[in-house]
Symmetry: C3
Subunit: 377 residues, 3 copies
């Protein structure tokens, strides 16, 4: 679809990119969600994602498609990180990146550097758990809640969204109700006195973070589905958020379910019945490689077309910004194009939905300026 190949994407959830050189182990470590790259039982190039890197990224770096992994890493080193980042970020064709600044890999670019490297506008997404962990330093149980609220409001002055990793910390099978002030104080006291501090994994506090964000009104991005092995997959099923979705329907604060796989159909369902719930498969399209079309098609079974978004969840490698965009354009084009060929949709509607999914809906939800109007200095 022509509209998709030219569309300036809004990548509504990503991280920063490594600024320095990467040797082969360093590069391979970014191609897996495993903490230990040896989990691949060989090279992480021997994965669906690894195949996609060789096919799609090699030509951007001036190599033939399917270049040998050793050649690829060598070519990368030869060009240097600045040029590699410039080429791949540029080829991604995004106009706006929404960057989760809650966890920044060592040696990665600042948001200003990232904007320059990619010639894109960068917007900040604030991670709730990080803000809470910062607020906890030196706080007492009694003033934690006020301190967190103050910090979050301050962060929200520059951020366009907040992000929750409750799926990692407690699982999504949370009590959906808002905790009382007394409960929060009590839980804060227990947490601040714990040896594991400051990692916030208390369910009451996690609920408090979420409800504070609901009150704030900025869109809330929620990690759901697969991720690194620090989580328990079945406790990240977005269907577990059913009650939270129902409880927050009145407030209207947008919820954005990220990644979702292998529960993307569940997420798509929630987006179909709750006005404030949206969905994208983020991380997934990068990792499933040649299967991106199949997975995206499943995600498009129930969700209204106005509730779908695009993100790469890129982290560390400029390749992941580019590949996320490649797979998204390819997969969405294949799904909508296939429907068009079968007579299920008109070209005009296909173009309209593609534009909404790749940029328009994100632009509206996050109140981003139109792409042709430069940001104020």
């Amino acid at each position: 679809m022509a509209v998709l190949s030219e569309l300036g994407l809004v990548d509504h959830h990503c991280h920063s990119v490594a600024g320095g050189e990467l040797d082969r182990p360093g590069f391979e470590a970014y191609l897996t969600e495993a903490t230990d790259p040896a989990a691949a039982g060989g090279s992480t190039f021997d994965t669906p994602l690894g195949l996609a890197v060789r096919r799609w990224c090699a030509p951007v770096l001036g190599l033939p498609p399917h270049a040998d992994p050793a050649d690829y890493v060598a070519r990368r080193a030869g060009l240097g990180p600045a040029e590699v980042n410039r080429r791949l970020l540029g080829a991604a064709g995004a106009t706006d990146l929404l960057v989760d600044t809650g966890f920044r890999p060592r040696g990665s670019l600042s948001t200003v550097e990232l904007a320059a490297a990619g010639s894109v506008r960068v917007h900040e997404v604030v991670r709730l758990e990080t803000v809470a962990e910062q607020a906890a330093a030196g706080a007492s149980a009694a003033d934690f809640a006020a301190g967190f609220a103050a910090r979050l409001e301050q962060a929200a002055r520059v951020a366009v969204a907040v992000k929750s990793i409750a799926a990692y910390r407690t699982g999504l099978d949370l009590d959906p109700t808002r905790p009382s002030q007394a409960e929060v104080t009590w839980a804060a006291g227990a947490w601040l006195g714990r040896p594991g501090w400051p990692r916030l994994d208390d369910p009451t506090l996690t609920r408090h973070l979420l409800w504070t964000a609901v009150d704030l009104g900025l869109p809330i991005q929620l990690h759901t589905g697969f991720g690194d092995p620090d989580q328990r997959l079945h406790r990240s099923d977005p269907a577990l958020l059913s009650d939270f979705c129902a409880a927050t329907a009145g407030a209207g604060t947008p919820l954005l379910l990220l990644h979702c796989y292998p529960y993307h159909r569940q997420a798509s369902y929630l987006a179909s019945v709750h006005r404030h719930v949206h969905v994208d498969v983020g991380l997934t399209l990068n990792h499933v490689g040649a299967r991106a079309t199949a997975v995206l098609a499943e995600t498009m079974e129930l969700a209204p077309f106005g509730k779908l978004l695009y993100s790469s969840d890129a982290y560390g490698l400029a390749e992941l910004f580019f590949l996320g965009a490649v797979q998204f354009r390819r997969a969405l084009g294949a799904v909508l194009g296939g429907w068009q060929e079968a007579g299920d949709i008109t070209g005009a509607d296909a173009d309209r939905f593609a534009t909404m999914i790749g940029a328009g809906t994100a632009r509206r939800l996050y109140r981003l300026d139109p792409p042709d109007r430069p940001d104020p200095p």
Copy 2:
């Protein structure tokens, strides 16, 4: 497949159709499972179901495929509800409708009116919760069970099946055992004294309803999988019925798992190992639009071909009766036809299975007269 395009379907689970005119908001409200049509984040026409309405229904009303939503609704109004219903119900090509009378939208046709509008035979399916709620009026805790049994037996004289919406009321993660009489009396007492009465959502009473139906012997239709946001998706997984299926195997009363998505593979598995368990994806084929073939194909991975049925779960709109039939014929034809092309099945077997799935098995289970023999007056 020729046999499929001509087959008189038994739509073994549906509701009634609206008898009056519908303006655009009224029409759009029926195109979503959301309580609030604004959940679509725009028009509910911008969904897989909305696309299918424009493609398939528009020509039946004399418009070109993919007609504009405004034109579609205007044309509908121009023809008037009686003509719209006549055309779309007729085009569905069903010989028999099994109508769940437990929840009838305001202004919808009676079963007699529906039969006349569609030139079909209409059979009644009695909703257990509705019967129980009626039996509760004026009952004491001690005589609720007897009153329910009496009402259910009376209803069963004209009904061909019963329906359970336990998925909505308690979730399917129920204790599978039959409650004792004392437990039922105790639970009835608690329920009858509760402010929320008469909505029956007590787990003990839900189990009692199910086991009373098992004793009655009429086929039991069970809502599983997605539906409106009043339910919790993950508690509607039909796999949660594993123990209930095992516990009721001896009785032999047929269980019919409806809708099932996104847990249709789980439902298909249960149908493959339990003699009395059957499956159809009902509601799903309508809502997933162009993806109907993919979803039906997944449902056909484990279930024996003799355990699959067809239903539209149509509700309110004549469009949904017609579209359900279109998607079913199209999807089943694509699955079986694809297998035939690949050499996996003979044409004779494909025809045989299509006939069983679309009509034969339902006819046998519900003891319906053959299609060419008119109902007794």
Copy 3:
């Protein structure tokens, strides 16, 4: 793919084959996971597996594809079990079978007989629960653990792997930690005094069996996903093993998730983040028939190619050894071949991965001799 059609497979999980004649009910009983073949609601030939038998096995027995079931069973009887087994096992093209000897159908071949019938090498897989139930005979609570360890070590001298059916006995939602010696003794005492003895279904003992196997170091095969109705499907979801995978990562003993369906994507995820976790869909490819390619493709979305294996889970019928191999070659060829056609992978990589998945990885994990070197006498 040429490499796949000629590859000598390692079938890393199967059972033995019936040695005697089978009449039609006897044959049909093996075509379903149901305890009661009537669960098919007709003939078990009217299932995806039944269609595959008629298509692929009939020609091996000298009948045309899609032969009538009655003709098929008659032809089988005419050839006699020895010839049927010889033909079908031979046509499977496996060099090595890893046979779970924990449950042997009456009248099935011994491992020596199976090796002769199939001209293959047979390796033993020891079932933990069977060893434990044998160790319990005459044991006291205090010496059960030592007796089990001794028996397991002895069994391990000839076995290449152990197998756990915890999914059937307790479900996989187990406490992942190693039980203390006192807990094991206490649980053994309770178990040995129970009426249901010797069926081992105590969670503490199940954990003890698993951790004893982790210490032993032989690869552990785990039943996950669907099976016969003795299990509860949703409690067999391999995602429930997340914590156990994390807890055993340090030990490094290989875990092999078998079958997995309909949770194969969950299993594939675990294989992608845990170094010692591997996955294959075993039983599934046989049962889903013409849908084998679709299911295998889903399984290949996350797992590194070096973490996938092949098994048939064949049981009773020589047909299942053959069909498992046919579906595997066909499905893997279609997935990798499709990717090659679309430019997603080179032919050399596709061949390399196919060889790893069909034989190489199993050979390495189970330390099997290369195929061209005969076993020592």
